[in-house]
């Protein structure tokens, strides 16, 4: 079935256009054109916006605001975002990174959406045509609103940890991914936010492990309770990359390594 493309100059216009049945927002195309190529006939019209604000990155007082149309390549090469560059580089190959957008990543179903795992750990705010909301709240609904940007406090390289496990090197679809924002004060962990990819149908927080890390030291014994709790509340998926059982078995191993690296 032929698709139609509707180009809007502003994001609010795109928001209105998306209210019609059979419409989807077109970011980089790596999700929606892929679905169309696969034979998804639920979409008849793709809507995009050429609003320049969607493609800008600004960093103000340590807080980054990244437009929804910013690509993974643009994030990876931005000098102010070096602490999260490895997350953007973990997405796809070079061509995909030149196309895939930050906004689109928020809508990617597992096993995709590794960048969103980091956004969740960073407690990012998602800016939409219908107001702002936290990444966690956004992911719970993930409805048809148009995302204009995400914003978060840029972590230091020391605070932020990220790992994506793939079976194919250097690029491959996620077995799982873990992002952790760890506040370390004088050898003790002050607080931690941990997010997991592929451990549910969308990125989720590992709240039990976060709690277990509070006040712990970054030693083998210190992190043991958090490592034991990391699987709590997860519902890993079974797909061509790995089984739920396998993902559940290797999660604590990679989480432990990430904390002690």
């Amino acid at each position: 079935m032929p698709l139609a493309l509707k180009t809007c100059s502003t994001i609010s216009e795109a928001g209105t256009a998306l209210k019609e049945a059979g419409t989807r927002y077109l970011g980089g195309g790596t999700l929606v054109v892929r679905a169309a190529n696969e034979g998804d006939v639920s979409v008849s019209t793709l809507v995009r916006s050429t609003d320049p604000a969607l493609s800008s990155i600004s960093i103000d007082g340590g807080r980054a605001t990244i437009g929804a149309s910013v690509t993974m390549s643009a994030v990876a090469r931005h000098p102010g975002l070096s602490s999260i560059a490895k997350v953007a580089k973990a997405v796809g190959g070079p061509a995909i990174r030149n196309m895939a957008t930050v906004g689109g990543n928020l809508f990617a179903a597992s096993p995709y959406g590794d960048f969103t795992v980091a956004l969740l750990a960073l407690d990012a705010t998602v800016h939409t045509t219908e107001g702002h909301l936290g990444a966690e709240e956004f992911l719970a609904g993930r409805d048809g609103r148009v995302v204009s940007a995400v914003s978060f406090d840029v972590p230091s390289a020391e605070q932020f940890r990220f790992v994506k496990i793939s079976r194919i090197k250097p690029k491959g679809v996620s077995v799982l991914s873990i992002a952790a924002l760890v506040e370390n004060a004088g050898g003790k962990i002050n607080g931690a936010r941990i997010a997991l990819g592929c451990m549910a149908d969308r990125p989720i927080r590992a709240k039990a492990a976060e709690k277990a890390l509070a006040g712990a030291t970054l030693t083998e014994e210190g992190v043991a309770p958090a490592v034991a709790a990391i699987g709590e509340g997860t519902r890993p998926l079974t797909d061509a990359i790995a089984s739920a059982w396998y993902r559940g078995e290797v999660l604590p191993v990679h989480f432990r390594r990430l904390l002690l690296e």
Binding site: R34, R48, G93
Partner: protein, 160 residues
């Protein structure tokens, strides 16, 4: 469904056509413009055989709508040879036996070209990273990586 006008530059030549709304650039290149160098592999963004260079950046033509390429400068492997003389990358792919069935080759060459355009002296690791979105089921990759490194060397010799 109404046709949409699209105009872009392909390998330095102006092209203009009416395409179906929602047609991918890959489909337009192969079926309308007649440049079949980009291959239709998975059409899911996984294999890289449809890779082309759009405004200096490597992209997957299977996931790019032709309509979004208005005014763009597009390069494909089909435009690399000049007056019957092969591009150094094409030459190196032959010399190093980097093509067996050849289906992945145009995509590999495009991915290698954007690498060499930015980094004329890449390391083995740089090449692996640059080709990481392109799948080859014949060669085991090593001959392809060697070919890219050989092309880089021959480029720097020519420049010297």
């Amino acid at each position: 469904m109404a046709k949409v006008p699209v105009q872009f530059t392909l390998n330095g030549e102006e092209k203009a056509d009416f395409v179906d709304g929602g047609a991918t650039l890959l489909k337009v290149l192969r079926e309308k413009v007649g440049d079949t160098s980009a291959k239709a592999g998975c059409q899911q963004g996984t294999c890289g055989s449809c890779s082309v260079i759009i405004d200096g950046e490597l992209r997957l033509s299977c996931l790019t709508l032709a309509e979004t390429c208005g005014g763009a400068e597009i390069h494909t492997t089909g435009g690399l040879a000049t007056d019957g003389v092969l591009h150094p990358l094409q030459r190196a792919f032959m010399d190093e036996f980097a093509a067996q069935c050849g289906f992945c080759t145009p995509g590999m060459i495009m991915a290698a070209k954007v690498l060499l355009d930015r980094n004329p002296n890449p390391s083995h690791e740089d090449v692996v990273e640059a080709l990481s979105g392109n799948v080859c089921r014949c060669t085991g990759y090593e001959p392809i990586i060697r070919a890219v490194l050989t092309a880089a060397r021959s480029n720097s010799q020519n420049a010297a």
